[in-house]
């Protein structure tokens, strides 16, 4: 290589070098790679949202109708008739503030369970970090969340409930909810890709989880000595956190939230590990 070609080589932008080897470390979260593919994650989210709204007759209205209707049913049966209590909040606020994270969570689980299977063709034809699929399922739910949140603001105004300083906790709690959805979503999408009947188990799982979480009743009804066990359900901390940060009433962050956060972390890390371990089989099984 003479001087001319050498300087020409230097002038060329550095060429990415890729080494393809048998899979090794599956417990590492590929942050760098996910960042590199961030535009693709955006496009997946954009695609999911666009298609979801194109295919429904009422489109975005569904994001508001569903929690609203559930709130009405809950208010009537669990609130008025069942008298399960509401931490002193008007029933609609009590239920809706829990339904916000709950609907997001349930929706994210639904979408991520099918994420890998629905994109089967894609996985066998193009390369991208497979994590991008459940990640985009979890992120696309935020659009619906945003729409139903607007409804919540309307409700708050109607009932004259002003947010307190507790609202500063809200971003952190929201992040916790997203991380939990991602963690569980990773588990489900990986499992469903390999054991195809998982998506039939999902509705039961979600139902059970709903009642194990403080959506239709306040966690203050759980006896003190059992509260730590209750906190092992990561959604418990998330939902109480939502309620408290948005309304200023309910259970302030304490042991419950701490235990739940630890569980969220556990679920997320184990989810990533499991997903990546199964990743090598996904393209082969698809």
């Amino acid at each position: 290589m003479n001087a001319a070609t050498h300087s020409a080589a230097l002038a060329r932008p550095p060429v990415p070098v890729m080494r393809i080897t048998p899979p090794t470390r599956w417990w590492v979260i590929p942050f760098a790679e996910l960042w590199e593919f961030r535009e693709l994650v955006y496009f997946f989210v954009w695609r999911d949202v666009k298609i979801r709204y194109k295919q429904t007759a009422i489109g975005a209205a569904w994001a508001v109708l569903q929690p609203l209707l559930m709130m009405l049913v809950f208010s009537l049966f669990f609130g008025k008739l069942g008298n399960l209590g509401s931490d002193g909040l008007p029933y609609p606020i009590f239920y809706y503030s829990a339904l916000l994270p709950w609907m997001y969570f349930a929706g994210a689980l639904q979408n991520s369970t099918n994420a890998i299977v629905e994109n089967q063709r894609l996985i066998t034809k193009v390369y991208f970090p497979r994590l991008a699929l459940p990640l985009s399922s979890v992120l696309s739910g935020l659009v619906d969340f945003g729409v139903s949140f607007l409804m919540f603001v309307v409700l708050m105004i109607y009932y004259g409930i002003r947010p307190t300083a507790a609202i500063s906790w809200f971003p952190a709690i929201l992040l916790l909810a997203i991380l939990l959805a991602l963690g569980v979503g990773l588990w489900l999408s990986a499992m469903n890709a390999i054991y195809r009947d998982v998506r039939y188990v999902l509705p039961f799982l979600v139902q059970f989880w709903l009642f194990a979480s403080p959506v239709v009743y306040p966690s203050s009804r759980v006896p003190e000595k059992w509260r730590w066990l209750y906190g092992l359900n990561p959604m418990a901390g998330v939902i109480e956190g939502f309620r408290w940060s948005l309304t200023g009433r309910g259970t302030p962050p304490g042991h419950l939230l701490l235990i739940s956060s630890a569980m969220v972390l556990l679920v997320l890390l184990s989810g990533v590990a499991y997903f990546q371990k199964m990743e090598t089989t996904m393209a082969d099984v698809a």
Binding site: M18, R19, P22, R47, R121, K125, V126, Y127, A283
Partner: protein, 410 residues
């Protein structure tokens, strides 16, 4: 200075087959977990492994256009998938210098509910283009695909042809340093194939490296300088295009001889045009049809019929040759026609071989073969510009005006 942009050493891919079904059910896993203590050790079926690719090593230099040929299931697609990182190798490693674009399928990522415009963005992003890049190339893509008018219609309303044009247009504007193409040029009509081939030639001329899998030797000959023949998961031969293709066809022939092929009668094996392939590009020059036949009996007073039908199943041209004398074994029958000035399009060829006379004189039919692949005539249209008047033939004509005496008006 040339360096390897693709360096592969000892690459292998193993799949487990047999005991495992493709889809597990969770309940099966749970039941098996319960019955595990009750199962005798080693009572299960032995796990069978399939090596789709085994100990493959190769180097591709910058700017090379390398062809991969081989029978179906030989491992060509697996190699491309490994190089595209779609699946991970079991053994060995590969090192790739440069951005890789994989074209393993036309229309990757297309969604029928989205519009053409939206699908361009989606497909481009999936193939690896940045949003900025897609925006810059969008107009070029639309022009190449010729779908300007339908950009805002959902893809489900597009014809298959339009979908494929759009898909290829997006893929063709991907500008990776290395392009891996898997038989995508085998789809579509002639116009489309011609466009794709042209684009591939442009890409190779711009100095990019291409690895190209195809079953159509004509395309391989046109594009590739070097060919790798993959057989049974390993590289059987590699070298200059002509040499390797010849070896491959030779082996295919010998295999046909030994197994008698799928064709029960097994007489006609293959056909191609004189220069190779099935695409005729000049109808005004001599055209040769080469048929490979595998005869089990000697042919005496044989009759060979060659008939060409257009896509409306009308008989366009037909020839019959009598009193043929052909020995048993693999023989090549060559038919030369001084010209074949037919209108561009697809034509089907029917060839027939009789022994002991033709169909009218008591001969018995050895085989009548609907030749595969079809004959593609891809010449410049010389006939009338208006479709309705274009006719069946494609013969040039010239017109000249000469002044004559004035006609006097008396």
């Amino acid at each position: 200075m040339t360096e390897s942009v693709i360096h592969v050493a000892g690459l292998g891919k193993r799949y487990r087959v047999g005991e495992r079904e493709r889809y597990f059910a969770l309940r099966d896993v749970i039941t098996r977990a319960f019955t595990a203590p009750f199962r005798r050790n080693g009572a299960g079926k032995p796990k069978d492994y399939l090596w789709a690719l085994r100990d493959v090593s190769l180097d591709v230099k910058q700017g090379e256009v390398v062809g991969l040929i081989g029978r179906n299931g030989a491992g060509k697609t697996t190699l491309l998938k490994l190089l595209s990182r779609i699946t991970r190798p079991t053994t060995g490693f590969a090192e790739i210098h440069g951005r890789v674009g994989s074209l393993l399928e036309v229309g990757t990522g297309f969604h029928p509910e989205l519009t053409g415009r939206e699908n361009i963005y989606l497909s481009g992003a999936i193939l690896g283009m940045r949003k900025r890049e897609i925006e810059q190339k969008k107009d070029a893509i639309v022009a190449f695909a010729e779908v300007e008018r339908f950009l805002d219609t959902p893809l489900k309303h597009y014809s298959t042809g339009m979908q494929m044009r759009l898909a290829f247009a997006v893929a063709a504007h991907l500008e990776p340093e290395i392009l891996l193409v898997d038989e995508v040029l085998a789809v579509g009509d002639i116009e489309f194939q011609k466009k794709c081939l042209g684009k591939m030639q442009d890409i190779s001329r711009s100095g990019r490296t291409i690895v190209f899998v195809s079953h159509q030797m004509g395309q391989i000959r046109r594009l590739c300088e070097r060919v790798l023949w993959i057989d049974g998961g390993q590289i059987r031969e590699q070298g200059p295009t002509g040499k390797v293709i010849a070896a491959y066809e030779d082996a295919a022939l010998r295999a046909a001889q030994n197994t008698g092929r799928e064709n029960v009668a097994g007489v006609f094996v293959a056909w191609e045009l004189g220069g190779g392939g099935n695409i005729l590009q000049d109808g005004l020059r001599e055209v040769r049809f080469t048929f490979l036949v595998n005869l089990r009996e000697p042919v005496r007073r044989g009759h060979f019929g060659l008939h060409i039908y257009n896509d409306a199943s009308a008989l366009i041209a037909s020839w019959g040759f009598d009193d043929l004398l052909v020995e048993p074994g693999v023989q090549q029958i060559e038919i030369t026609v001084p010209c074949l000035p037919l209108r561009p399009g697809s034509y089907s060829i029917l060839s027939s071989l009789f022994n002991g006379g033709n169909n009218l004189t008591g001969g018995h039919l050895l085989e009548a073969w609907n030749a595969v692949p079809f004959l593609a005539i891809d010449t410049i249209p010389l006939a009338h510009k208006q479709e309705a008047w274009a006719g069946i033939t494609n013969i040039p004509a010239s017109l000249k005006v000469t002044a004559r005496q004035q006609v006097s008006r008396a």
